[in-house]
C-alpha cells in the first residue's frame, strides 16, 4: 500500500499516539486520542488524515470515520484559529445564554457552525460546561469564561487573535 507522503502522520504525531498505545489493550482503543492528537497539530481531521490514522491503528478508514464523526470535539471540517463553544444547556439558558449567543453572532457576523472570513473564530453550541453557578458560560479553545455579559464577551474575544 502506498501512502501519500504529504499526508503521512508526522514523527511527533506518531510518537504521541504510540505513547497512548501503552495505556490500552489494543491499538484501536487509542483511536479517539489519535484523532485528538492529530487535530491538535493540524486543526481538523481531513479525509487523508482519517486514512493515515486508520493505517497506523490497523483499522479501516470507515471505522475511524465512524468515530471521528461521532464526537463533537473532533472536527471533520476546517475551523478557525479559535473555536468558541457557547453553552446552550438549561442553567445557562435560564441565565440568558440566548442573548449572549445573539450578541456573538451579530458581532462576528456568523451563525452557529460558521467561521469568520479572517478565520479567527468558529462559533459552536456546546452541552453544559459544568460551571452552572457562574452561568452563562462559554469555552474558547480550552479556556472557560464565566458570568458572561455582552460587555464581558467583547473584552474576552479581544484576547484571541
Amino acid at each position: 500500500m502506498s501512502i501519500d507522503s504529504e499526508t503521512m502522520l508526522s514523527n511527533e504525531e506518531q510518537k504521541e499516539i504510540q505513547h497512548e498505545f501503552e495505556h490500552y489493550e489494543t491499538k484501536q482503543a487509542a483511536c479517539i486520542e489519535a484523532l485528538m492528537i492529530v487535530q491538535k497539530h493540524r486543526g481538523w481531521i481531513s479525509d487523508d488524515v482519517v486514512k493515515d490514522i486508520a493505517a497506523f491503528l490497523e483499522m479501516s478508514p470507515d471505522e475511524v470515520d465512524s468515530v471521528a464523526s461521532f464526537y463533537n470535539l473532533i472536527f471533520r471540517h476546517p475551523v478557525g484559529r479559535n473555536v468558541i463553544f457557547l453553552c446552550d444547556s438549561v442553567s445557562c439558558w435560564v441565565m440568558g445564554s440566548t442573548a449572549i449567543g445573539e450578541h456573538i453572532k451579530q458581532k462576528l457576523g456568523i451563525d452557529y457552525g460558521q467561521t469568520t472570513e479572517d478565520k479567527r473564530f468558529t462559533l459552536l453550541p456546546i452541552a453544559c460546561l459544568g460551571t452552572c453557578d457562574h452561568a452563562p458560560a462559554m469555552m474558547i479553545n480550552r479556556d472557560t469564561h464565566r458570568n458572561l455579559t455582552p460587555e464581558k464577551v467583547d473584552t474576552v474575544l479581544e484576547k484571541y487573535k
Binding site: 484501536q28 438549561v90 439558558w93 435560564v94 453544559c128 452552572c132 452561568a135 480550552r142
Partner: protein, 424 residues
C-alpha cells in the same frame, strides 16, 4: 469531620500537593486498606455504609462491587473506571472535587481498585475539564513518584496503574456501557445488558464504573467505618451529598451537606433564596433528566428515597431553579434540544422521537402551537419511557417534559391559545 469530601477544599489556595494532602490525613485510607484489610473487607465496609452511586442512579456501591469475580480464578486484567464525564446539564460537583482536591480521587481509586483487585484504573474525563486534567495529572505523577501507584504498592503483591482518558465530547459517554465503548476507541453507543460490566466490561473483562463523588467517599468510609458514614446523614440514605443550586438565586453554588437536607434549607439558607425580582415556581432536582418538583415539595428531604416518593429523582443533587420570569415551555425546550442533539442515534424511538419533541416545543415557543400538541408530547412520554428504548437516555429525557406538562399545563395551553410565548 462532617464534610469529608470538601474538607481540604479552598479555591483561593488551590489544591493540596501530595505532602500537604498527607499532612491533612490523606492516604491514611489507603494505608489502612492495604495494610490491615483484605480486599473483601473493603467491599464489605462500603456495602455496610449504605453508600449509593452519586452519578445519578443511586445504585448501592458495595453491592455493585460484590458482582466482581474475585480469587485466583478471576479473569484479569480487571478494571476500575472513574466516570468523570460530568455532562448532565446543571451539574458541576465533580469538577470541584477534581480541580480542588485531586489527591482525594487518586487515593479513592487506589482504595477502590484494591477492593476489587483491579489491575488498571482509568479516569474517564470530559475534555472541557482542562483544569481538572492538569490537577489530576500532577497528582498522579506525584503519587507514582512515591510508589503508591505501580508495582507492589506498599509492599503488597498488588499492582495498579492509573491513566486518564480525555474524552472528545457527547453526553452519552456518561452511560456506563457507552463509556466502555468510548474507552475502547469506538462510537459511544450503549451495550446490551446483561452481561453487566462488573462481569463482562472493558475489553470483556470485569469492570467497575463509579462516579467521582461516589469514589471520593470511599477512603473516608474505610478510615472511619460504616456507622460513622451512616450517621453523617439526616435520613436513611447514608453520607453527605454535594448539593448545588443554579438559576436565579442570590448565591448559586455548591455545598457539602448531610444527605437528606431539605430543599428549603438548600435554597433559602445556602443559595441565599431567590433573587429579589423573581419568585420560585419549580425545580429540576438533580440534573436535566429528572422530573420537576414544585412549591409543595419545598420541605422535602433531598435524598434518594424521599425524592423518588415525590415522583422525581435525586439524580446528581444539583438543582436548576425555574422562576416566574422564566417560561417553563422555553426551559423544557432548552432541555429537549440538548437531548435531541445528544441522542447517540442507535435506537429509533430516541433518535426520531426526541427531535419531534424538540420541534413541537420550538413551535409552541414561536407561536405555531396546535391544539393537539400537548397530547402528542404526552404520547412521547410513553413511547420514550422505560422499556421502549435501548438505554435510560430517552426515559430520562422525557422526565422533565412529562412533569412540566403535569405542573405547568396551563402555560403550555396559553402558548397554543395566544399563539405566542407569554414570556416574550
Amino acid at each position: 469531620m462532617n464534610k469529608p469530601l470538601t474538607k481540604n477544599i479552598d479555591p483561593k489556595r488551590g489544591p493540596l500537593n501530595l505532602k500537604d494532602y498527607e499532612k491533612a490525613g490523606g492516604y491514611q485510607g489507603m494505608e489502612k486498606a492495604l495494610k490491615e484489610m483484605q480486599p473483601g473487607d473493603v467491599t464489605k465496609v462500603v456495602k455496610d455504609s449504605g453508600l449509593r452511586g452519586r452519578g445519578g442512579a443511586g445504585f448501592p456501591t458495595g453491592v455493585k462491587w460484590g458482582f466482581v469475580p474475585m480469587g485466583d480464578n478471576a479473569p484479569h486484567p480487571k478494571y476500575l473506571i472513574c466516570n468523570a464525564d460530568e455532562m448532565e446539564p446543571g451539574t458541576y460537583k465533580d469538577r470541584l472535587l477534581m480541580e480542588q482536591d485531586p489527591h482525594l480521587l487518586v487515593e479513592s481509586m487506589i482504595v477502590s481498585g484494591y477492593a476489587m483487585q483491579a489491575d488498571i484504573g482509568y479516569i474517564f474525563l470530559r475534555a472541557e475539564y482542562a483544569e481538572a486534567e492538569k490537577a489530576l495529572r500532577k497528582a498522579i505523577a506525584e503519587v507514582y513518584g512515591k510508589k503508591y501507584l505501580g508495582g507492589n504498592i506498599l509492599g503488597t503483591n498488588w499492582s495498579f496503574e492509573l491513566y486518564i482518558h480525555t474524552s472528545a465530547g457527547r453526553y452519552i459517554c456518561g452511560e456506563e456501557t457507552a463509556l466502555l465503548n468510548a474507552l475502547e476507541g469506538k462510537r459511544a453507543i450503549p451495550r446490551a445488558k446483561p452481561p453487566f460490566p462488573p462481569v463482562v466490561g472493558l475489553f470483556g473483562k470485569p469492570t467497575i464504573v463509579n462516579n467521582v463523588e461516589t469514589l471520593c467517599s470511599v477512603p473516608h468510609i474505610v478510615n472511619n467505618g460504616a456507622i460513622w458514614y451512616k450517621d453523617l446523614s439526616k435520613t436513611d440514605d447514608a453520607g453527605t451529598k454535594i448539593y448545588g443550586v443554579s438559576g436565579k438565586v442570590k448565591k448559586p453554588g455548591l455545598w457539602e451537606l448531610p444527605m437528606g437536607t431539605t430543599m428549603r434549607e438548600i435554597i433559602e439558607e445556602h443559595a441565599g433564596g431567590m433573587q429579589d425580582d423573581v419568585k420560585f415556581r419549580g425545580v429540576i432536582p438533580g440534573g436535566a433528566s429528572t422530573d420537576f418538583l414544585v412549591e409543595e415539595h419545598y420541605d422535602l428531604p433531598m435524598d434518594y428515597n424521599e425524592v423518588q416518593k415525590a415522583g422525581s429523582r435525586l439524580g446528581t443533587g444539583t438543582m436548576i431553579i425555574l422562576d416566574d420570569q422564566t417560561c417553563p415551555v422555553g426551559m423544557v425546550h432548552s432541555l429537549e434540544k440538548f437531548f435531541a442533539r445528544e441522542s447517540c442515534g442507535f435506537c429509533t424511538p430516541c433518535r426520531d422521537g426526541l427531535p419531534w419533541v424538540e420541534k413541537i416545543l420550538r413551535a409552541l415557543e414561536e407561536g405555531e402551537g396546535r391544539e393537539d400538541d400537548i397530547a402528542t408530547l404526552e404520547m412521547h412520554g410513553k413511547f420514550l419511557g422505560p422499556g421502549n428504548t435501548f438505554c435510560a437516555f430517552a426515559p430520562g429525557a422525557v422526565e422533565p417534559l412529562q412533569s412540566a406538562i403535569k405542573y405547568f399545563r396551563d402555560d403550555f395551553q396559553r402558548h397554543i391559545n395566544q399563539k405566542r410565548c407569554p414570556w416574550r
